[in-house]
Symmetry: C2
Subunit: 464 residues, 2 copies
């Protein structure tokens, strides 16, 4: 039967071997001669994967709550996407990748309008596509540096633009936060601090790093303590901005994740972000919200920063992963004054915009953000229950929508739990020192939550 | 009639308006609200484009000798690629983009073997895919930094690995060349020196920049002078390596293009590269050949460095553009010791490997490298003739395969020639201060050369 007629989701996990199974191991053994296989979990059969279920090459079918590091928006082989890619009108987009910055296809403005522009964050009507999250952040940083220098023209004199410095590569900086992850290319890496191994041996910039609030969970039970902690961090941010200006390396931009993801699912309150945005404005720093992992609907809103309830939440919002194309939205001022300053050969890939337009249609048609909010509640409540049930094992259950996490007592126990859960048909990922992060796709329904909770509590019982 | 049955190439340019035509202008006027349109040439109808001909939205059909900044390997809508993308077995690769580093698809090792590994440079059996050229170079630099630090372990003591430094982000450097272009993200940008505007206002690293030989053309007429110039540059390279070591910023790697492309199609002799490779080895620097623009067949060989005739031409070779996926080949030593040091969510895109495997089949089946050599000779001879005919206007015709260039007397005249040629149906690009670069796809045959030469000589006659 043709693929599109197969049932869109399976009814549960089905395990035939432990994972990685024998076929995965054979493939890995061959692959080791050409690739670094150290991070490979197992090999997949994407043809047979459906909805929330990832099927591996040994025929194991797992409930996928990690979704390719949070990058599969509406599950595997969604019929709407299969249909789109089977349509002959998609063919020329697939075989003729243009240099988007110079020779865009006729339908590119329309596809942008249907896809990225239809979900543009408040205050932003401009978007720049890029190939991946790192490139998006790199170019966002460049845009902030360029803007900062433009603004320097006007600091000298009110009426005539006049520039004090010399043209060149100035010592500007980006302020980032401890525990942040913004990518692994060299500009991004200078702002990434989630794990030492990411940065080890790679030269970096002398840029300021502020503390990210270490909050106590559940947030609503510790509002006073958490507000104090956030105030402490904001004060430090202002101090660093002043210090780096004095050092001759002024802060052109502040970059932050709405929820620190790789760094361990660290939350902060809407108040924190509102105050931070004001500090940025006060000191003439652009405010860059990195939604590469939080964007795309998992938090119950398309952008996690929408939970802050601001009309003017940011100057730049970068994205990738679930948005299928990398890129960043930006306010008008952040458009470089000249062409070719923000540029590369491909500048994205229109075939990804095609897919994204359809993904957004599915999200709207199937009310997936409401579904996420519903499943997210069930998931977080389930985690609270388990945490009460296994107090020595679990702590700090937290989340927004299905973008949830829980801490395990230590790293070794976490590894053991992740492997055991996988062998029982649930695929999860870690983050931070000892957290498990939940990153299902948007088609993860309440009944999937219950399938997960049943299996997870069995695994935990074995670790008690 | 279905697209795949339409004739694969057109018989010549056909112009209906000047370019950009009215429809392109309307689209541009709409696009300006969401995008920087300053670099847009015109909007394209990729459905109707075929082979060597790019069709725009006003129905103009141009002989394309720029091919999306040298990134279209076998022309537009090649039937073999249309067929591949129409095959239902390609669908799951198109709609389920995996996190390749952790959950590769079953056919990934085979597709790598059929595609990138089947054309691996001499001495290299390992390859790392990435999304674009900049990311490829960024990660190649990281691999060189990591290797350099590993080697430091062994410098201290012969028998026991022992490391003097402290773990962290050391002050290492990459040596690059004046006029080089290696990309626009912050690590790459520190090694890019083709145009000031690319780097303006963006912080950089204090890394050494060596002179690239300024040769006289035709190369065979100036062998003695050119050898002297190359020797001067090589001497400077060694001086810089020593200086930067003394500064405490040792050179971990040397990066170079086989032909500086963006920088103005600057050539150097095989001897120069052989000596440079030896200098790198002597000083313990990794040798990185950036084939992002030169790779893929335009020079008459799949890799331009094959013209050097070396068994061990490099430690790292990066690619993108015509290879459809970014990435880099590397020697075994350059594989990081641990997983997740060279990593990102997508690490490429298997759908591009699918396309590349078929592109390489077409190159072999249609003997396209031989064709390129033949058309390249016709093109270069034609340029020599034109240069003799228009001595005040043209100079320094040069090239390898169809990877050719010629200088125009000044930048303003170059712009005027490029626009007039376009209005007559020939699409070309500039590079350097006043060069025109020729970057046809590999299906550019001798008769396309003659179509081009006829139109180009008409345009030149108007500028005499």
């Amino acid at each position: 039967a043709p693929k599109t007629q197969v049932e869109y989701d399976y009814d549960g996990p089905s395990m035939k071997t432990s994972v990685p199974g024998p076929r995965s191991q054979v493939l890995n053994a061959a692959h080791v001669y050409s690739q670094n296989v150290g991070a490979i979990n197992f090999f997949c059969n994407y043809d047979e994967s459906r909805g929330n279920y990832l099927v591996d090459v040994d025929g194991n079918r797992m409930l996928d709550i990690y979704t390719q590091i949070s990058s599969i928006p509406i599950g595997y082989n969604h019929p709407a996407l299969i249909k789109l890619m089977s349509d002959p009108s998609s063919l020329s987009t697939l075989v003729n990748r243009p240099a988007l910055g110079i020779l865009p296809p006729e339908n590119f403005p329309d596809k942008l309008t249907e896809s990225l522009l239809s979900v543009a964050p408040s205050g932003m009507s401009r978007v720049q596509t890029m190939a991946c999250g790192s490139c998006s952040n790199e170019n966002a940083y460049k845009a902030m540096f360029i803007l900062y220098r433009v603004s320097e023209y006007y600091y000298c004199c009110c009426h005539r633009p006049f520039y004090q410095g010399v043209p060149g590569c100035p010592d500007l900086s980006i302020l980032s936060f401890m525990g942040a992850f913004h990518g692994r290319t060299m500009g991004c890496l200078a702002t990434t601090h989630s794990k030492a191994i990411h940065k080890l041996d790679v030269p970096s910039f002398d840029w300021p790093i502020a503390p990210f609030p270490k909050l106590q969970y559940p947030l609503e039970e510790f509002t006073r303590e958490n507000a104090q902690e956030e105030a402490r961090c904001l004060e430090e941010v202002e101090d660093l901005i002043v210090k780096w200006r004095q050092k001759g390396k002024p802060v052109a931009g502040i970059v932050i994740e709405p929820i620190q993801a790789e760094g361990g699912d660290n939350h902060a309150s809407p108040d924190f972000f509102r105050n931070l945005r004001n500090i940025a404005r006060k000191h003439g720093c652009a405010f860059h919200v990195d939604e590469v992992q939080t964007g795309g609907g998992n938090t119950g809103k398309l952008w996690a920063h929408e939970h802050w309830g601001m009309d003017d939440p940011a100057d730049i919002v970068s994205f990738s992963k679930k948005l299928l194309t990398g890129g960043y939205y930006h306010r008008d001022e952040l458009q470089a004054d000249k062409p070719y300053r923000i540029f590369n050969t491909w500048m994205g890939d229109p075939s990804k915009n095609l897919l994204l337009a359809e993904v957004l249609n599915v999200i709207r048609r199937e009310n997936l953000l409401e579904e996420v909010t519903r499943s997210g509640k069930a998931l977080l409540n389930g985690l609270y229950d388990l945490q009460a049930q296994f107090p020595g094992l679990l702590s700090r259950a937290r989340g927004q929508g299905t973008f949830c996490a829980i801490d395990i007592c230590d790293d070794a126990t976490r590894s053991s739990i992740l492997l055991k859960a996988r062998d029982k048909g649930v695929l999860l990922g870690g983050c931070g020192d000892r957290s498990i992060r939940f990153r299902p796709s948007l088609v993860f329904k309440e009944y999937h939550v219950h399938i997960f909770l049943n299996i997870f509590s069995e695994v935990l019982a074995q670790h008690k």
